[in-house]
């Protein structure tokens, strides 16, 4: 059963992809990508206590969530549900946690423990936006972006209203290089719903779980070379079609070598 979801908003943050309006030409292929660093996003709408504590992964997630939801009216934002995903969680928090636990007197700070929960990004986002609805945080390794789309499709079928999808994976610190090295940081957000496509909007995306096939997904998807190893960057071919206003299929990496076929439909 395939589901067609209307795209209501898009957000992106990565080196050389600093927000949707700045990144659109790069993703469309009109401007070459440059590895320009991006500043750590501020999160002014978080209460002071949380703002002092919030970790990097949550900041990036909130930044792309805000950008993706900016096109919605207040009522649509208030009833929005949220699916966040990350393949790798927060490497800096992991690094600090492991070091603290390996010390002769192991101890964690409350802030470090708060930030070590995998769902910290969606937790901080809900506090920042006062969103009390349905929200979750999932992981499917290199298939995490595909998993977010599947869950968003299921949520859009299960109830009315928009669904915010966020996928975020940041680079890991050097000390953890032997554990995992996701490369450059990448975060993206899209807002979808099951309503009709809007004129002049972002178009739509068709998701067909029946197209999950035991194929080698990683060989089929050309990740932008600069973001190789970053699971969230699996979104790049989808964002590129949205940016180019071009319809066509994208084969996304699914779970462990499987693939999910989606189709971007231009407005």
């Amino acid at each position: 059963m395939s589901v067609r979801l209307s795209l209501r908003g898009v957000g992106v943050l990565a080196p050389g992809l600093n927000g949707w309006s700045a990144a659109r030409d790069v993703l469309a292929g009109a401007t070459p990508w440059r590895d320009d660093p991006v500043a750590m996003p501020d999160v002014r709408h978080l209460p002071v206590t949380e703002r002092r504590r919030v970790n990097a992964t949550s900041r990036w997630a909130i930044a792309v969530a805000d950008e993706a939801a900016a096109t919605l009216d207040a009522a649509a934002r208030a009833s929005m549900s949220a699916v966040f995903a990350s393949a790798d969680g927060d490497g800096d928090v992991l690094d600090q946690t492991l070091a603290a636990l390996a010390s002769p007197q192991p101890a964690l700070s409350p802030t470090l423990f708060h930030n070590s929960v995998f769902n910290a990004p969606v937790g901080y986002w809900s506090i920042a936006t006062r969103s009390t609805g349905w929200a979750t945080m999932i992981c499917a390794g290199e298939g995490s972006f595909a998993a977010v789309l599947l869950e968003a499709a299921a949520q859009a079928c299960a109830s009315d209203g928009a669904v915010l999808c966020v996928c975020v994976d940041l680079g890991y610190p050097e000390r953890l290089a032997a554990l995992h090295a996701p490369g450059r940081s990448f975060a993206c957000g899209i807002v979808v719903d099951a309503g009709p496509v809007a004129d002049g909007g972002f178009g739509s995306i068709e998701i067909d779980a029946a197209a999950i096939a035991p194929e080698r997904g990683s060989a089929l998807v050309a990740l932008a070379a600069g973001f190789a190893g970053n699971a969230a960057a699996a979104a790049i071919p989808v964002l590129a079609r949205i940016a180019r206003r071009e319809s066509g299929p994208v084969l996304l990496p699914g779970f462990d070598g499987q693939a999910l076929r989606v189709r971007v439909i231009a407005p």
Binding site: D88, A102, F113, Y124, T132, A140, A153
Partner: protein, 399 residues
């Protein structure tokens, strides 16, 4: 408020769990019957010196994964395999895979820390400064959040839509909701839902940092409750639209506190929203619930907020209990463990008693059942609340 559409009720056609009470269903039922759980003074060597009680599963140290599963070997996956092989669960899943095709069976597993203990021990052996060395398989097959889903797909032979849900202590309650949506949307025809979390230094020291670890066995809703006891557990259920099974999942409700990362609002507002949403999804009135398995961790603030939330929606009369006095708080596995206790209240016609020494807190307004007793339970609710303000309520009914 979002309007929810009708979702299919799903029969639980197979289930099992392994907790500090023992391995498989028989051990859990005996613990409930006798009101005698598996908590013990901390004897977990990696956390030696930490004054607390734990719900430890015996024997995992002697059960390494070998052969084709060797690359997955870590405490969390040893626990997952031990649990999955009880009560005919793995066999039931293989049967479903033969009927439907492995690609049409989804798998959703909740965990809060995956295999992090083995990473913690590896770095501790090497010293705090690093850089640390790891086996090349370590991240993918043992440490990462996707690892439990990867392992269970291989162990159980399912290959449909799959994900790990990691929303702290609501993780393996939310897998039921995710599976129900996925089946309703036609992404899979049946689903394995699971939860697995094992003892880890980060959670033991993390809860200590928040001063939420009791130095005695946890006392949910007790007058002198002063914190939780961390446990480890794995639970499994197979959900199908039709099939042999006494109990069905009939409604789920999820909400966010949007309040604080680790404390609920005092009135349990988030809990109320989740409970109301679950009732609405099940098409039930508040009076239709015969038993509530509470999140009931034993921390002063959480128990008070949950009780306020439950009473605000369901009233003061409905029988309630926490089973964390038996199992400890199994964190990412708590949701499914307690969903299964709620399910068994229906199947066995009895309400589990709220285990915990001492007197109940007179300020707790809900009706806490002290001892296990026979009672016809047609519909049971299970509540789970996690850090990040993540709330989930599940409703089960006779199939």
């Amino acid at each position: 408020m979002r309007r929810a559409h009708d979702l299919p009720r799903l029969v639980v056609t197979a289930s099992t769990m392994t907790t500090a009470c023992g391995v498989g269903w028989a051990a859990q039922r005996a613990a409930v019957r006798d009101g005698r759980g598996g908590l013990r003074a901390n004897d977990f060597e990696p956390a030696a010196g930490l004054e607390t009680w734990i719900g430890r599963v015996d024997g995992l140290e002697g059960l390494p994964l070998d052969g084709e599963l060797a690359r997955y070997d870590c405490r969390n996956h040893r626990l997952a395999r031990l649990a999955a092989e009880q009560d005919g669960f793995a066999r039931a899943v293989r049967g479903a895979a033969a009927r439907y095709g492995a690609l049409r069976i989804g798998l959703f597993v909740g965990t809060s820390t995956s295999g992090i203990l083995d990473t913690e021990l590896a770095t501790r052996r090497q010293g705090a400064r690093g850089p640390w060395r790891f086996d090349s398989d370590h991240y993918r097959y043992r440490h990462s959040m996707a690892a439990p889903a990867r392992f269970l797909r291989e162990l159980l032979g399912v290959a449909g839509v799959s994900a790990t849900v990691s929303t702290a202590c609501s993780s393996s309650a939310k897998v039921f909701a995710m599976a129900q949506r996925s089946i309703a949307a036609g992404q899979c025809v049946a689903a394995v839902v699971a939860g697995v979390d094992s003892l880890a230094l980060s959670t033991l020291h993390g809860f200590r940092a928040l001063q939420l670890l009791s130095k005695r066995p946890c006392r949910p809703f007790g007058a002198d409750r002063d914190g939780l006891s961390i446990g480890e557990a794995a639970g499994f259920a197979l959900l199908e639209r039709e099939g042999a099974g006494a109990v069905a999942l009939i409604g789920t409700g999820e909400s966010s506190d949007a309040f604080h990362m680790s404390s609920p609002p005092p009135g349990g507002d988030g809990a109320q929203m989740a409970i109301r949403a679950a009732l609405a999804a099940a098409g039930l009135a508040p009076g239709d619930i015969d038993y509530v398995n509470m999140h009931g961790t034993g921390t002063p603030a959480n128990d008070a907020a949950e009780a306020a939330g439950v009473v605000a929606v369901l009233g003061e009369a409905v029988p309630c209990s926490s089973t964390k006095g038996l199992t400890g708080h199994a964190l990412g596995a708590a949701g499914i463990v307690e969903a299964l206790f709620a399910l068994d209240a229906i199947a066995s016609g009895s309400i589990p008693g709220n285990v915990g020494d001492g007197t109940l807190d007179p300020r707790v307004p809900c009706h806490i059942e002290r001892a296990t007793r026979p009672h016809a339970v047609r519909r049971a609710m299970s509540n789970s609340f996690g850090f990040g303000g993540s709330n989930c309520s599940l409703v089960f009914g006779a199939a």
